[in-house]
Symmetry: D2
Subunit: 329 residues, 4 copies
C-alpha cells in the first residue's frame, strides 16, 4: 500500500500508493513523499522521495473526521477554538499513477539510505513536539485558569496546586525540545542535526504528559465542560434566559464567556487532540526502539562494574552465549 | 440557583431552581430532588427532597451537548457505540415554580439532616463507579485487543504488556467497589451502608485510572482512530474503494469492521467519556475531603509514636497550640 | 539448586537444595517445603512438599543483611522501629541431605499438581499483601503526619494534600485484599479460595503504590531523615546540647521524639522495606502473567465487537492464522 | 537557629548558629555561609554571607548517619559503591561565636538582597541536578542491566522494556539541565544565569523520576538485593561454599560479582540516595512556589481568551474582587 514507483521514463517517474494521517495536507500547496521504513534491495521501488503539487493529476484526498468536526459548520461557540480551528484536519491521500518529473525526484531506488532518511525525519519531527505541545499546553493551562477564575474557585489551594502541576508538565515538554536542539551537532553538509536520543525522549514525554495535563484541565474545568447546552440554546429567545442564569459564574462575567472557555477546554483536551499527541511524529514504541540503539547501555554497564569493583570483562560469558544463540527481537 | 422552596400550602410545596449535569433524565419517568450540601438554618428552604414526574408543569430540560453527538443523527459506523449509544446524555433541568404534593415530599426544611443525606447519597453513588467504569473499561480493553488483532500486531510483546496493564487498572477499579460493599454495615433501618472511606477511594481511582486505561487504548488503537474517513466515504461509490483498500488490516477481515472498532475506541476514550469519569458522582476534591474526616489520622499517629518509642501524649503541645489558634481551611 | 528428593526408603525421604528469601524462618519452629513452579515428569523429584523442624540435621540458615541491620546492635533510637524491629530478617536456607519421615511428606513425585499448588499458594500470599502493606502504610502515614506536626508544618495545605494522597493509596491496597477475599469461592474441600485475578491485582499494586506512599513520606519527612546525627551524638555529654538545640521542632516536644520519628520514617521507607514490597509474594511480572490467563480477554473482545456492530466471528481469521503459526512467548 | 551576626569590630564579624544537611563539608577546606530566605529589616543580622575555613575556632561538625554507613567500616563488597563511596556524608555544622575577618565577608546586613541571593543560588543548584542525578541514574541503569545479564534474564522482553523506561526517565532529567542552561541569559556582570523556571522544573522532576528509576532497578534487581548474605558469609571457610553455590547466576560469572552488583543496586536505590534526590537543592514545594511566580499565568489566560473569542478584559471583575479582598497564601 505504501507509495512506490510503478514506472519511469526519461521525463520522470510514475508512483502509486497512499499516505495516511496527512495533517495540513489540504491547506498546503506541495507535498513531500518519503519512505517510512528502512528498506532492503527487494523493496527498492519503495525507496522514493519527491515533491508534488497536492492537486497533481491522480491525487485524491479523503478528508478524515476529527472529534466534533461537525460543530465547525454551526455557529462559533461550540467549536471551542473559535478563531483558529475552523479549517484543518488530517486526510488519507491516495496517489493513483501520479507522474513526477525528474527534477522533483530526490530519491529513486537508493534503498540503502531510506533508513537514515526516516530516522532523520523522525528525529527532527520529534524535536518540535515539546515546543508544539508545550505551547498548546500553555493555552490549556490558560483556559483552565480562566475557567477557575470565572467559576469563582481560582484561589482554592488545590486548584492552584493543580495549575502549578500543569505548568510543571508543560515546561518538562518544552525542556526536551530545547535540550535536543541545544545538543544538536553540525552534519558535514553544514546543517544541524538534533540529538536523536533527546528528541525521542521529548516526543515520548508528549505521549504521556499531555494526558496528565488534560486530565487536570478537565478536573478544574468541571463537569460543565461535558454537559453544557449548545450555542443555539444560549441564543434561543425562549430558553436562552435559563442557560444565561444557571450557567453563570462569578458576578460581572457574561455566561457566554464561561461557555466559550468551557468549550475550548473540551476541544483541546479530548479526542483528536489526545490521539494526535500520542501518534503524531511516531507512536510511543517507535521512540522506545531508539533508546536501545542510542543509549549506549554497554558503557553504562561497564561504569557500574567498575564502581562495584567487578572486572570490566565480567559480562563476557553473557556476550559469548548471546553470539552463539542470537536473541530474538 | 439551587432548587429551593418558594411556597407551601396544605396541598404541597412549590419549588424553583435548577439541577445541572442530569444524566439519564430525559430517559426517565421521575426525578428525585435532593439538597447538594450541608446546610445551616439560614438555608432551610434549600433543605428539600421530593419526587416529581420529569414532565410536570414548570419543568424544562435543556439537553447538553456530548462529544460527537451530531454523529448520532448520521449513519451507524461513526457513532462508535453503534448499538446502544444512540440516545442518552445530560441535561440542565430548570424548575420554574413546580408544585409537589405533600405525599411526594421527603424533606422540607430539616436542614440539620441535609449534610448526612448528601454524604450518604454520594457514597452510594461512588460505590458503583468502580463497577460501572470497570465494566466500561472491559469494553475498552476488548475493543483495543480486537483492534490490535485486526491490525496484525495483537501478539507484539509491548501490545500484550499494555493490555495486561489495562486489565490491571480496570480490575483495580472493580476491587474498590467490591471492597466498599463488602465492608458495608447495616443501618438501624436494616439497609446496608457502604464503607464510606473505601467508596470514596474507589471513585477517586476512577478519576485517574480511566485516563491511563484510555491512554493505552489510544496508544494501541493507533493514529487511525483519529484520522479515519467517514462512513459516507467508505460507502461512496467513487472513493469507497480507496478507503476499503488502504485502511485494510489483516487478510480476511473487512475494512468496515476495523473502522467500527476504531470508532468505538474513539468514542469511549475521549471527551465526554473522560469528563464523566472525572466528575460523575463528585469531583476529585470531593473525595479527598472525606479522607481527612474518615481515615482516623490521629490513631495512625499514635501507632507510629508507640513503635518509635515516643510517649503517646507527645503531640499534645501541637494540639494545644491548634486549639488556641484555629487552623484555617 | 531447588529442593528435590535425592533418596527415599520405607521410613521417609532425603532432600537437598536451598530455599532463598526466607522471611521469618529464624523465628519459626517448622518450615514448609513446596515446589516453586509447574513441573513436568522429568522434574518429578522436584515435586516435593513436606514439613521439617527448622533445626533438623542437615539444615543451615545463612542470615541475610537488611538495610541498616547493624543499628539493631547499637542503642534504640537509630533503629527506627525501636519496639518491634529488633529481630527478624530473611535467610538463605540450605538443606544438605535432610531426612523427612513419610508422615510429614505431603507431595512426593506428583508433578502434575505442582503448578496448581504454586498458583494456590501464590494467590493466598498475594491476598494478604494489601492488608499487610496497607497496615504498614498506615504507620508510615502516622509517622509522616507526626513528623509534620513536630516540625510545625502539619497544617500546610500541601502537606495535608500529600497525607490525603497517602491515605488514598494505602486504602487502595487494602481494598484489593478485601475484594479478592470477598470474591473468594469455596473449594470442594470446603475451604475458601480467593479470587485469583483480584489477589494478583492487589499484590501488583503493592509493587507500585508503596513507592509512591514512601516517596511522599520522604517528601514531608524532610531532609533531616537522611542527615540526622546518631543517638550517640544526641546523648553525648559534649555535643548532645547542639543536637538538642538545632534539631528542635515545635516548642514543647523533645528533640529526641522528633529524631525517633525521623528514624522510623527512614527505616520504613527505604532499602529492604521497598524491595520486600516489590518481590515478596512474587515479583511484578509473576502477577502480570496471571492477567493474560485469568482476565478472559476473548470475552471482552466479543462484547466490544457486539457494541460496535461487528459480527461475533469477525476475528476468526486472526485465530486461524495463530493456529497455523504458534505464537512465541 | 540560623547563622547570624552577634558581634562586629574593625577586624571582622562574629557569627553564631548552625547549618544543617552539609554535604561534602567534612571533605572541604572552606565553607560559604549564605542566608536561606528573603529577609526583612528586622532580620538584618541574618543577612550574612562569608567564607570560613571549615576548621576555624568555634566550629563543630556533627556527622550524620547515612543508610548502611556502618558497612563502610567492614570489608568491601557490602558497601555497594566499593570504589568511591567510602568517605562522604552530610553533617550538622555548629558555629559558636566564629570570627570572620572583613576581607572574607561578602554580605553583612544588606537584607534587601538576601531573597535574590537565595533564589540565584537555588536555581544554579537546581540546574545541576538533572546532570548529577541523570549520571547517577546511568550507573543505576548499568548496574540493573548487568544484574539482569548475570542472572540470565537480560533478554526477557519485559526486562528490556523496563530498562528502556529507565533510560527514558534518566534522559528526561538530563534534558532539563541542558535546557535551563541553554536558555540562560548573561547578567550585567557578564556571568550567565540559568533559566530559573526550567531549572526548577528539572529539580522537581528529580524528586519524582528517581523514585521510578529506582523502583524499576529494584524490580529487575530481584529480591536477592534485599536478602543476600554478607561478604563475611561469602568468604567464610565453612559456609562460603553454599553462598557461592546458591547465589550463582549464569555460568562463567563468579557469584561474588553478582553480589557486588546486587549491593550496588541496594546502595543506590534506597534510603539516603532517595531522600537526597528529594530534598537536595530544595524540597519539592520550594520548586512549586517558583512556578506561580515565573510561569506568566496571566499571559496564558489572555491567549486562551483570545482563541475562544472572549474579550481580553473579561477577567477584570475577578481581578477587581481580588484587589478588594487580598488572597491568603
Amino acid at each position: 500500500m505504501f507509495v512506490h514507483v510503478v514506472g519511469r521514463n526519461d521525463k520522470g517517474i510514475i508512483i502509486r500508493g497512499a499516505k495516511a494521517h496527512m495533517t495540513g495536507m489540504v491547506n498546503s500547496h506541495e507535498m513531500l513523499i518519503m519512505p517510512t521504513a528502512a528498506l532492503g534491495e527487494e523493496d527498492k521501488d519503495y525507496a522514493v522521495s519527491c515533491a508534488i503539487p497536492v492537486d497533481a493529476p491522480g491525487i485524491l484526498h479523503i478528508f478524515g473526521r476529527q472529534t466534533n468536526d461537525d460543530r465547525k459548520t454551526e455557529g462559533e461557540i461550540d467549536q471551542g477554538n473559535a478563531r483558529y480551528g475552523v479549517v484543518g484536519g488530517e486526510c488519507l491521500t491516495v496517489l493513483e499513477n501520479v507522474f513526477v518529473p525528474w527534477d522533483r525526484v530526490f530519491m529513486c531506488g537508493e534503498f540503502e539510505f531510506s533508513g537514515q532518511l526516516v530516522e532523520r525525519f523522525a528525529c527532527y519531527h520529534r524535536q518540535n513536539y515539546g515546543g508544539c505541545k508545550g505551547g498548546v499546553s500553555d493555552i490549556v493551562i490558560g483556559a483552565t485558569a480562566a475557567m477557575a477564575d470565572m467559576s469563582g474557585y481560582g484561589n482554592a489551594a488545590h486548584v492552584k496546586e493543580k495549575i502549578n502541576e500543569m505548568i510543571h508538565l508543560a515546561e518538562s515538554l518544552y525542556a526536551c525540545s530545547i535540550a535536543c536542539s541545544c545538543e544538536g551537532k553540525p552534519t558535514p553538509a553544514g546543517s544541524y542535526y538534533v540529538d536523536p536520543l533527546l528528541a525521542n525522549v521529548g516526543k515520548h514525554n508528549v505521549t504521556r504528559l499531555i494526558y496528565d495535563i488534560n486530565r487536570l484541565a478537565q478536573d478544574i474545568g468541571g463537569g460543565i465542560t461535558a454537559t453544557m447546552p449548545s450555542e443555539s440554546d444560549l441564543k434561543s429567545p425562549e430558553i436562552g434566559q435559563y442557560v444565561e442564569k444557571y450557567l453563570k459564574g462569578v458576578a460581572g462575567i457574561p455566561t457566554e464567556y464561561r461557555m466559550r472557555i468551557g468549550r475550548l477546554i473540551e476541544n483541546m483536551t479530548g479526542g483528536t487532540a489526545l490521539i494526535e499527541s500520542m501518534h503524531g511524529a511516531g507512536s510511543p514504541q517507535a521512540q522506545k526502539i531508539f533508546y536501545s540503539k542510542l543509549a549506549n547501555l554497554e558503557h553504562k554497564k561497564s561504569c557500574a562494574l567498575d564502581i562495584a569493583g567487578v572486572p570490566s570483562d565480567a559480562l563476557k560469558p553473557v556476550r559469548d552465549a548471546a553470539k552463539k544463540k542470537p536473541v530474538k527481537a
